[in-house]
Structure formats: structure tokens, C-alpha cells
């Protein structure tokens, strides 16, 4: 089961280079041919692009793992991106770190308990300004609530 002691304990800090080719690849993979991605020399990122933080972070410091979330019984429930101004563009270097901000239980429809775990990742630019935030909610079901494929 997820470990509530992990709430508030910040994870490691990583650095991410926002790259033109990666933006092009991501935009095409998510069904967009918008010229802002494909023709601009310094394209803006797609709305869900910051999920590529996966490529820049070391798994050893994953705060979800620190929180002992059981991914055999875990599901991605919600994902949110917030931008404090226009989204970053290619050429930006972002520094990010994640924190488990919340953990709470709910009763599932099938009777089992569900544990929701919220992880917030803050992305800062070279000047240290907060430019974006990702909020990732996963739900861990107890064995009784499982079963649907």
C-alpha cells in the first residue's frame, strides 16, 4: 500500500532541454500538424508535452516509488498541466522536481478501498521562475475492487 509518510517529501531535481525535434515527434504522435509545431524554428510545446519529463529523470528518485505506490494495482486517474503564461518553447531549459502533495482514501463502487495519490511537478525556467506545473493523480485499488480489464 502507498506510504502516507511520503507526502510533502520533495524528490530529486532534474534538468530538461526542450527540443525542436522532440516537439515535432510529439505533435505528430498526438495527431497535430499545426504549423506552430512543425514550421516555427522555436516551436511552442504541445499541451501534454511535459510528460516527456520521463526521459530526463532518473527512476531511482521517482517519488511515486518512494511513496510505495503499487503499480500492479495502480491506474492513472487524472493528469493536469498548468502554464503560468505562454507554454515553454524549444531552446528552453527547465528544472523540475516532483512532490507527493496528497494521499486520500475513498470507498470504491465495488466495496474495496481506493487510495488516491497526487504528485505535483514544478517546472522552472533558467531564471528560476515557475512556468508550468503538472498534477498527476493515480489510484491504487485494493484487491476487492479490482477486476475490470
Amino acid at each position: 500500500m502507498a506510504n502516507a509518510d511520503a507526502v510533502g517529501r520533495p524528490g530529486a531535481t532534474f534538468v530538461m532541454d526542450v527540443e525542436r525535434g522532440k516537439i515535432r515527434e510529439f505533435a505528430r504522435a498526438t495527431g497535430s500538424r499545426h504549423p506552430a509545431y512543425l514550421e516555427d524554428k522555436q516551436p511552442v510545446i504541445p499541451p501534454t508535452f511535459l510528460t516527456t519529463q520521463l526521459i530526463w529523470q532518473g527512476g531511482e528518485a521517482d517519488v511515486m516509488q518512494l511513496a510505495e505506490v503499487d503499480f500492479e494495482r495502480g491506474l492513472h486517474a487524472e493528469q493536469e498541466y498548468i502554464f503560468y503564461g505562454p507554454p515553454p518553447r524549444a531552446g528552453a531549459q527547465l528544472t523540475f522536481s516532483s512532490t507527493i502533495t496528497d494521499m486520500y482514501d475513498k470507498q470504491g463502487r465495488r466495496g474495496g478501498a481506493m487510495t488516491f495519490v497526487v504528485m505535483v511537478t514544478e517546472f522552472r525556467d533558467e531564471a528560476g521562475r515557475l512556468v508550468a506545473e503538472a498534477r498527476n493523480t493515480v489510484v491504487e485499488t485494493s484487491p476487492a475492487a479490482e477486476a475490470q480489464p
Binding site: K22, E25, F26, A27, R28, A29, T30, G31, S32, H34, A36, Y37, V44, I45, P46, P47, T48, T51, T52, L54, I55, L75, H76, A77, E78, Q79, E80, Y81, I82, F83, P86, P87, R135, P149
Partner: protein, 136 residues
């Protein structure tokens, strides 16, 4: 405020979804979780086949909105994952304007978005806020 810009475009239709579409997304995102592309792995875990990545259909839905209102104008996007998406599915992305308002002198628009499967089932429900520079 002007009317024309805020009329949503036609829904986008994607599919039938292939394993290649899923793998292309996984490579782009850096998420190589095998349950989404390794048939043997998915079956051993009790699923009838591989299934799509939630963030893929969330990305398709975000693309529909950002292609309309401009990628540089997005200020928030929140996706809730509902039904699983399978190879062969045809996904339709659309949305409506929930609210137009001003915030700090900027025109803003809130959208209610939905990505549905060919069955009518909802794969992803989402909410987005965009800046609309020409209003406000």
C-alpha cells in the same frame, strides 16, 4: 467579444487505432510500459490484448483544442481517464465552450472536452483554459 472564433471546429476523428499509433506515442513520450505494445505481456497480465496509453488519447484531445485556439494560448489542461482504449477503436475528439471571461485584462475561454470511442463510451473527459488575445 466576437462570435466566429468561439464556434468550435468539426470534431476530429482518429483511427482505427493501430499498434503503430500506440508505439509511436510511447516513443515520443518516453514511456515504454510493455503492457501497451507487448501482446504476450498484456495477455499474461490478464488483458485480451495490448491497450492504448491514457496520455495518448489525452494528447489527441489536447491537439484538437490547441489546433483550434492556438498552442501558445493554452493555460491549463486537465484530463480524466475513463474507459480503456483498444487497437481498432475509432476516437472522436470534440468540445464546447463552457465560459468566456476576462482575467487580469486577458480574454479567456474555458472548454469542456471529450474523447469518445466508436461505442459512444467516454475514453477521456477534459477541461482546458485558453487565452484568447483578440477579446477582453
Amino acid at each position: 467579444m466576437t462570435g466566429g472564433l468561439l464556434t468550435p471546429p468539426e470534431p476530429s476523428v482518429f483511427g482505427p487505432l493501430t499498434r503503430t499509433d500506440i508505439v509511436r506515442y510511447q516513443g515520443a513520450a518516453g514511456d515504454m510500459q510493455p503492457i501497451h505494445h507487448d501482446e504476450g505481456y498484456a495477455r499474461a497480465a490478464g488483458f485480451p490484448s495490448v491497450f492504448s496509453v491514457g496520455m495518448f488519447q489525452a494528447g489527441l484531445l489536447a491537439s484538437w483544442a490547441a489546433d483550434w485556439l492556438g498552442p501558445e494560448n493554452v493555460r491549463s489542461y486537465r484530463a480524466r481517464f475513463k474507459e480503456q482504449v483498444w487497437p481498432g477503436d475509432v476516437l472522436t475528439c470534440s468540445g464546447v465552450v463552457a465560459r468566456e471571461y476576462e482575467d487580469h485584462g486577458e480574454g479567456r475561454i474555458d472548454l469542456d472536452l471529450v474523447c469518445t470511442r466508436q461505442t459512444g463510451g467516454v475514453a477521456v473527459q477534459a477541461w482546458a483554459t485558453f487565452v484568447v488575445p483578440d477579446i477582453g
